[in-house]
Amino acid sequence: MSTDDAIRLTHVAKSFSGHQAVKDLSLAVPRGSVFGLLGPNGAGKTTTLRMVMDILAPDAGTIEILGAPAGPGSRDRVGYMPEERGLYPRMVLDEQLLFMAEIKGTTRREAARRLPAWLERLGLADWAKKRVNELSKGMQQKAQFIATVLHEPQVLILDEPMSGLDPVGMDNMRNVLLDLKRQGTTLVLSSHQMETVERLCDRVALIDRGEKLLDGAVSDVKKEHGKNTLVLAFDGDGSFLASAPGVANVTDFGRYVEVRMTEGADPQILLREAAARLRVSRFEIVEPSLHDIFVERVTANAKAVA
């Protein structure tokens, strides 16, 4: 049943004057999920999101939003915060936010009724009558968010929602997003902040060079990438680890190292080796982080293409 998906892309392709930005991309974002859209810079994320928003038309394939083809009719049901933020700098904040809701089909009166609660929630109530260019970067970020949600969309697409926010602002934003999820809003987050994605998203897709590298529930993705990552904390010179048998990659985090083993290698062998040469204070087999999966898959893809 297609209506179970908030967004569904089927064999979508888009190219610009010879450059293929998106190739045969199929994706499904289930209703009510928090979906992480990952990919390196230039992977085709923004182009994909613009096609979902009907700003660009795909060359091939179909896009459905909440069961209906993407088009003028679907725009109002989706809120989109692009990576490049944009507000009219000389416009008064509340005027601006009402305008943004109006062009999304909400009446001015209804938008005005909803606005105070949002301003209050994001700490902008005292700034409602200020011009946008008088606001700090973080406040503009929050204002942009209100502009995206004031028309109460069923699907919310946020490109780097946390950028520009301090830790308190980030926590606040996370709570706002979780509240929206509880109310049934489908969230699509495009971000390079893997920590944010890991904490919030229940599903992810990784795209690179216009193609999907992986897609699925976060837990499945991690399982699929095996139990071959271990965390090791120790005293002594650990430089031998990188060339030890069965080790694919070592990432030094300063206080500990993360070691990825090659397929089928036994971590116990490495533990014995390490115990013989170092004072080991921590040894733990962990799930790979999304960060590691991202780096591994994108690097492998770059090698495969080259």
Binding site: D54, I55, A57, V78, P82, E84, G86, L87, I103
Partner: protein, 417 residues
């Protein structure tokens, strides 16, 4: 339609509320009025009378010329005060007079050579020789005196001859369907003023569209807007909103003009320099051709704005766009002189020139109805075409950042689906 309205309203309110608009709207007519009134007031004030001396080599002409000059009046005051010339040889007298002029004791002197009666020649030496009105009076005075003396010499009565050879004072009366009115050059001045107003406002509001598009693009707000409404609606809303601001400005101007005219009419009643009347027909034509010109040019400006990243980049592309407006202004003397010539007719039917030149023709001599209708139809069709092309450039251009596109690239944008 419901999505268009907020965009039109935003464009309109943000501009009308701005200080720049209020200043331009209030100051525009004040400045324009000042520019027209102040020179007249200044030119009318003649200042102190001129102190003159007459250096007469013949010895017989000085007295009648001086008599004629002292009779001349300006602003009900004698215009020329005649100082006695110094004595001595012709050379010393001339040297002394020159010194007097340089030192400011005299404003100037007239030199009548010995043969000036025969050759009708005289010279004026003065520090200021650009006071046209005074010089003209002086020339007429000397000329009248010399002619009078020659007539008397030939045995004729100067007064009688003058009566008999009185020149025709050609009054120009403009005939219109509404009636007739005397007109002494004011009509031409009025046409030029309206033409310049039309030129300025079309250019000004066209440029406002240009900078508006560039600002939206550089603030990146455009992507947020087009994720809500199609780019064509954004462009349409912008053109309508800015156009409405232009019309608001006219309305303010027309109302203040009407106010001034009403107030002025009682004061200036009976005055010879009557303001040419602004007929409702002319006003309607002005608004119509403003809208035609504005839509045509602002659509082009919108396309230019979408293709560039900064105002600086826009300059080089904007010039060819408003070039035809400049050309239109350059053609005005020709069209004004022969508004019904084939060339004027053809030029005024070229859509890019129509807004200025057809309107100019209407101010001078209302062209045949079919020509007006044709000009509206042709310009309307061009606007539709330009809007279509501009909307396609706009749609792609507003999301393009970085390198400025080449002309072939822009053409490709027009062709893309």
């Amino acid at each position: 339609m419901s999505r268009l309205w907020p965009i039109v309203r935003r464009e309109y309110l943000e501009r009308v509320r701005s200080k720049a608009f209020i200043i331009a709207t209030v100051l525009g007519p004040v400045l324009m009025g000042g520019l027209m009134v102040i020179p007249v007031l200044v030119a009318g004030k003649a200042g102190k009378p001129l102190r003159l001396a007459v250096l007469d080599d013949s010895g017989t002409l000085a007295a009648p010329v001086e008599a004629q000059l002292t009779k001349l009046r300006r602003d009900d005051n004698p215009r020329f005060v005649i100082e006695p010339p110094p004595l001595g040889s012709p050379e010393t007298r001339e040297r002394e007079l020159k010194a007097a002029v340089i030192e400011g004791r005299l404003d100037g002197y007239l030199h009548l050579p010995a043969d000036s009666l025969q050759k009708a020649s005289a010279s004026y030496f003065g520090k200021n020789v650009s006071n046209m009105i005074d010089l003209r009076m002086m020339e007429d005075a000397v000329s009248d005196t010399l002619v009078g003396l020659r007539l008397t010499g030939a045995g004729l009565d100067p007064v009688k001859v003058r009566d008999l050879t009185k020149k025709v004072d050609l009054k120009t009366i403009r005939l219109t369907a509404e009636g007739e009115r005397e007109d002494r050059g004011a009509a031409a001045l009025f046409s030029i003023t309206l033409l310049m107003m039309l030129y300025t406002t079309v250019l000004m509001w066209g440029q406002a569209v240009l900078t508006g598009v560039i600002e939206e693009k550089s603030n990146r707000v455009v992507e947020v807007i087009v994720s809500a409404v199609p780019s064509t609606k954004l462009m349409a809303g912008k053109l309508l909103g800015v156009g409405a601001v232009g019309l608001t400005q006219f309305l303010v101007w027309v109302l203040s003009l009407a106010g001034v005219s009403l107030a002025g009419a009682s004061v200036a009643a009976g005055s010879a320099a009557r303001m040419p009347e602004v007929s409702p027909l002319l006003l309607g034509a002005f608004v119509l051709y403003f809208l035609l010109g504005y839509l045509l040019y602002s659509a082009l400006f919108a396309a230019v704005g979408a293709s560039v990243n900064t105002t600086q980049e826009a300059q080089s592309l904007a010039f060819p766009v408003f070039m035809p407006l400049v050309v239109g202004v350059m053609f005005f003397p020709m069209v004004l002189n022969s508004p019904d010539s084939t060339l004027s007719t053809v030029l005024s039917l070229i859509p890019l020139l129509t807004p200025l030149l057809m309107f100019l023709r209407i101010t001078v001599l209302v062209p045949p109805m079919w020509q007006i209708a044709l000009s509206i139809a042709l310009t309307g069709a061009s606007i539709a075409g330009v809007l279509w092309v501009a909307a396609r450039i706009y749609r792609v251009g507003i999301l393009m950042y970085g390198k400025r596109p080449t002309f072939p690239e822009i053409l490709r944008w027009v062709r893309t689906r």
